[in-house]
């Protein structure tokens, strides 16, 4: 009873604060401060058509680095928690998958991977980028492990892709210090023609590495959850 009263009190205080915040809100009509600078100078400074990409990869590149690190930490903690006991490895998952799903997955998985790679290669021109492309690749891996529940994904491939893309991300960031203005500066290559595929300096390369790394980490998490189904 006391708990219910406390919950009601907390929620009503929150609702009152939200009401105040809502009633003092005015619709914005123009950009101010930092975002005005990003919007008006972003095209000539960075050379990417997608301003969200230019903010994520260059202006706030440290943020992305930390974010990828946090995702890596999460994947490692999950694989530590969902570790199989010895003797669980021989168990198989008794779940019959239909023939139609297996055949369709063989047809669909290359298309899904190709679409994911397209999304993160074109992150500087169209909506999309490393995080979306990585998530799409992980969806393809999910389809693969759903069609064949007893498949064992190659651990070495996932770990090598993850490590090499992470290290290359940092190395390109450090190269920016020597060849251009600072850490993760994309102007170490020429900016190129605005709107071309090979433009915006190092942004496509960095975002491809981010996409590979995110895809490998999400696939690793899915694989661990799939493996945990064995231990009955």
């Amino acid at each position: 009873m006391l708990k219910n009263i406390l919950v009601a009190l907390v929620l009503s205080v929150m609702a009152y604060m939200f009401y105040n915040a809502y009633s003092s809100y005015e619709t914005r009509t123009e950009l101010t401060g930092m975002s005005h600078h990003f919007a008006s100078k972003g095209a000539e400074e960075v050379g990417a058509a997608n301003l969200v990409t230019s903010i994520i990869v260059t202006y706030r590149g440290f943020d992305t680095l930390g974010e990828v690190t946090i995702l890596f930490l999460t994947a490692s903690i999950i694989s530590f928690f969902l570790k199989l006991k010895s003797g669980d490895k021989e168990k198989i998952i008794r779940r019959d998958t239909s023939e139609l799903l297996v055949t369709a997955s063989q047809l669909l998985i290359p298309i899904i991977f190709m679409f994911g790679i397209y999304v993160f290669m074109n992150g500087h021109l169209t909506p999309g980028g490393g995080f979306q492309g990585g998530a799409i690749i992980a969806t393809g891996v999910a389809l693969m492990i759903m069609a064949n529940p007893n498949i064992s994904l190659n651990h070495n491939v996932i770990h090598w892709v993850e490590s090499i893309s992470g290290v290359s991300f940092v190395i390109i960031g450090v190269l920016g210090i020597f060849l251009a203005g600072g850490f993760l500066d994309n102007r170490m290559f020429s900016l190129g023609e605005f709107g071309d595929f090979f433009s915006a300096g190092a942004i496509p390369i960095i975002y491809s590495f981010v996409g590979l790394k995110v895809g490998a980490e999400l696939s690793n998490i899915l694989n661990k959850y799939q493996k945990s189904q064995k231990e009955i």
């Binding site: 239909s98 139609l100 799903l101 369709a104 047809l107 669909l108 298309i111």
Partner: protein
């Protein structure tokens, strides 16, 4: 160009009508299997017809700037994924023993040794 646009608009309308029929089927069908069938069949047709309509509606010239190529890719993708997903959905529903409706006449999967109760049989 104006006639092509008109044909596109009419196709979009037909696709929307098919989607409306899909929704009515979802509401009125008696059990899960019929509902999934109504939803998937009618919505696949509706989506394909509306996509072709959108492709014809946005034709400005036969060179650049029309959506027909992208729309064809989308249609191929829908034709690949939509039947497979509904098949898997109904298969899982059968093996988790969701009851069939009482009006069911034949149950082909039952002959293969799977058992399932009809609605209201064990009461």
């Amino acid at each position: 160009m104006e006639t092509i646009k008109l044909i596109g608009a009419i196709m979009i309308l037909m696709g929307s009508f098919s989607l409306l029929i899909a929704v009515i089927g979802l509401l009125r069908m008696p059990d899960v299997y019929n509902r999934v069938q109504a939803g998937t069949k009618a919505s696949t047709l509706g989506a394909i017809v509306s996509f072709i309509g959108v492709g014809l509606y946005t034709v400005e010239s036969w060179g650049d700037g029309n959506w027909l190529g992208r729309v064809i890719i989308l249609i191929i993708f829908i034709l690949l994924t939509n039947p497979v997903s509904s098949h898997v959905l109904m298969r899982v529903a059968y093996f988790t023993k969701i009851p069939l409706t009482k009006l069911t006449k034949t149950d082909m999967l039952k002959k293969d040794g799977n058992t399932i109760i009809k609605e209201g049989e064990n009461e």
